[in-house]
Symmetry: C2
């Protein structure tokens, strides 16, 4: 993965002198107007007029970094062996990872009830100083009746991973009821059976939630060959600073990149340059945690992204590819806020939002679960995200007259071909080629190889990916 | 209803000179601390330290008052006859009433999509100036496909009541999808069948919502003998000012008042006096809109409240009894915010919140729908309600040693008798008496008469009221 490695070859923490004295950002209010986000007229308060220098501040002013420092590590590990033990699921561990690096700043551990309730009802947390930060998905740890009994009156527990290694300590714990139905209804706007995260992490989880302050014994690693792409918010901030970025625009994805995506990202950089930024950097940020069975797995997506950079579709000089460790909820307008908020903590001040972000088909009815426009509308109005510039996705399609992906021109619809996820999947499965210019050949080959690698099920069907 | 009439005998609008120069309120932060609301440590921002004079300001600074003034009434009525017509259900009309008098200030009509989405996701609206007001239940008007077709490109519609009288004009309309499942899930935290408001007003409602600016042709009246008790927020503010109130504490109820409630209200006044207020006024504010079939009907509740005042359980001099025109959602922590917010608009700066406010049994499972403590917790953290002092309900029970209702003393639990709603109901149905001192005899007789008036169903069962 030469290109990607090059893109962040020198990000070892503290390996570089930070260059200070970045150009002040242009006033962000004018940016919002230029991009005409849906909220342009609603923000008010004037805070957008403040001219900032350096990267956008993390929520709460400081990145939560919860990995125990070396001098204390051995003592904490010893202590963990003496405490009541809670076993972490794969998704629990992903949340430990997310919390440990400060993606959810200012959260410093699994939510206590007051944070859980604010998340469910308001998608935001009020801090002690009165400031409001966005927080739309519950980051909670479930325990069952037996765990609760075993924990007893202890004020601390140790969290153990699937291999029974001590991973973290949770202190000043609070145990409270896990209102599953209400959590699901308020997070997803439905309680229909078949929501992937719910089936994986909620339905069979315990009836209690345990919140507290988290100390993680060692940086979380997965040993899957991809750990070097898992840059923390602090790593990313160092990288953006090293590159002298004066704007960072984040693109969340969980699907293969086609040339329509690439066009959008390239065009966004062009527009940021036009606005007066000197060095806008793209954070191409595939989601690395839990995804549903029919999504393309992370390792294949990373191969595909590598090819996209190698083939020169995106410029490695102005692109950082890294993995976002969060699990996926598929909770549409609620989840897109989390995706955006976490990227603020990584230093992004622009966030690209597409049609139906974090959406999926309704698990029971024949329709999409969410209105395709609600995601960007909700994002543009969300409390705690006022500092972030929301960039609505322009629709790209295959322009038959140019033989390449281009922004859709409604004055000549007959010239455009919309290649749906289903179409793309069918082509890749059948080892057919998409129209020239839809995706770089190297990237397409990865997709074909992925479907080739799947052992067909008895009925000849293979899992379906939805690369929209 | 002599006592109640006396309580607001002279509230005809503009009949009195307002007395200005009310004592400034004591700093509200100290009040919060004194009462130890759950949020005492979380508010921050210092706004609670501001010393205010006069009644609390309405949300958005000004009461929305949407009834057309006399000189324009005839012209608007004529215009309404020329517009596409939308028929109002009983609950729709109750919302027209609520909106027309400014209970939902600063809303000036049925919600457009941006307000609807903010309500569902954030329980709050951001205003043009950046200020945030609470808004937790959607105030929306549904129309069906045929209505939508009939409205066509018109920018206005006329709203007609059940008797085909023109009631209001909705202007600058916006028609958008009615995502029923999502609305229900996010408002109630469940989609279980059997939610009373859902069955009455959503399940069979149209698939579109229509928002816009409301002009109501005449004040809404129900001609049920109770209109004189339906004071608008403006009327109530006049009454509180006339009485020289320096604190107004609101008590929402939809059930008969027993002596435990009365004790709580009397005790609240005593504590407010201790804090330095000179004339705290109680707003005893029964909900008058849609309620579920097994609640005691409004007319019987008003008779019961009258007896409570007549019997001297509450002091008419310091109590205003009035009807709150909103329909009931039974949406627990979400709805209690609406109940509180609407009372700010009526001038209340203290709000008493009990166990499980606006709660009910789960319609399908054998449990309460909401955690009994979530209501007061959510209320204490709700965006836009920072100005309101939340007074958590103290638990009252029948003290056998004193032969009266008293605050529960956990050091001698054996002395207390908890008289459940079911117990109270059974006694009233069987024309038995509760323990002396549970409810004033006149009030109890009203309840017995109510159950007596019900024609027993074939199986001998009568509808069950839940007076908790």
């Amino acid at each position: 993965m030469a290109s990607m490695a090059a893109a962040f070859a020198s990000t070892a923490p503290a390996a570089h002198g930070h260059r200070h004295g970045l150009r002040p950002h242009p006033p962000s209010l004018s940016l919002r107007t230029h991009f005409s986000p849906p909220s342009a007229g609603r923000r008010g308060g004037g805070s957008g007029l403040r001219v900032r220098s350096g990267l956008i501040e993390p929520d709460g002013g400081r990145l939560a970094q919860l990995v125990v420092e070396e001098p204390l590590r051995r003592a904490r590990t010893r202590e963990s062996l003496t405490l009541p033990r809670v076993k972490l699921s794969r998704i629990d561990l992903e949340w430990v990872h997310v919390l440990s690096e400060g993606w959810a700043s200012p959260l410093r551990g699994f939510m206590r009830e007051s944070e859980f309730l604010q998340t469910l009802h308001f998608n935001a947390l009020r801090l002690a100083d009165g400031a409001v930060v966005n927080m739309s998905v519950p980051i909670v740890l479930a325990v069952d009746d037996a765990d609760r009994h075993m924990i007893g009156e202890s004020s601390k527990v140790a969290l153990f991973d699937a291999n029974d290694n001590p991973t973290a300590i949770l202190s000043n714990i609070e145990i409270y009821k896990h209102p599953k139905e209400e959590r699901i209804a308020r997070t997803w706007g439905t309680t229909a059976p078949g929501l992937p995260y719910v089936e994986e992490a909620i339905t069979n989880a315990g009836n209690w939630l345990i919140g507290g302050d988290l100390e993680v014994l060692e940086p979380i690693k997965y040993e899957d060959g991809l750990d070097r792409f898992r840059l923390s918010p602090a790593n990313l901030r160092e990288e953006f600073t090293r590159r002298n970025a004066d704007a960072v625009f984040a693109f969340q994805l969980r699907n293969p990149v086609h040339n329509g995506h690439a066009l959008l990202m390239t065009d966004t950089r062009r527009r940021l340059l036009e606005m007066g930024y000197k060095n806008p950097i793209l954070l191409l940020h595939p989601l690395g945690g839990f995804t549903k069975a029919d999504d393309v797995p992370l390792s294949w997506r990373m191969k595909q992204h590598e090819k996209v950079l190698e083939d020169g579709v995106l410029d490695p000089e102005t692109t950082v590819v890294s993995i976002f460790p969060s699990p996926m909820h598929y909770a549409g307008p609620t989840e897109v806020q989390w995706h955006a908020k976490a990227r603020i903590n990584a230093g992004a001040n622009f966030y690209i939002v597409g049609r139906d972000p974090a959406g999926m088909g309704h698990p029971v009815e024949k329709r999409d679960l969410y209105d395709a426009d609600h995601g960007k509308k909700v994002l543009s109005m969300a409390p705690g995200l006022e500092r972030l510039n929301i960039l609505p996705f322009k629709v790209a399609a295959y322009d038959k007259t140019q033989g390449k992906m281009a922004f859709f021109d409604p004055s000549r619809p007959q010239d455009f071909l919309f290649i749906s996820g289903t179409k793309m999947r069918t082509l890749a499965k059948n080892k057919e080629s998409p129209p020239d210019g839809f995706m770089c050949p190297g990237g397409w080959k990865v997709l074909v190889d992925y479907y080739d690698s799947l052992a067909p099920a008895d009925n000849g069907k293979v899992p379906e990916a939805v690369p929209a």
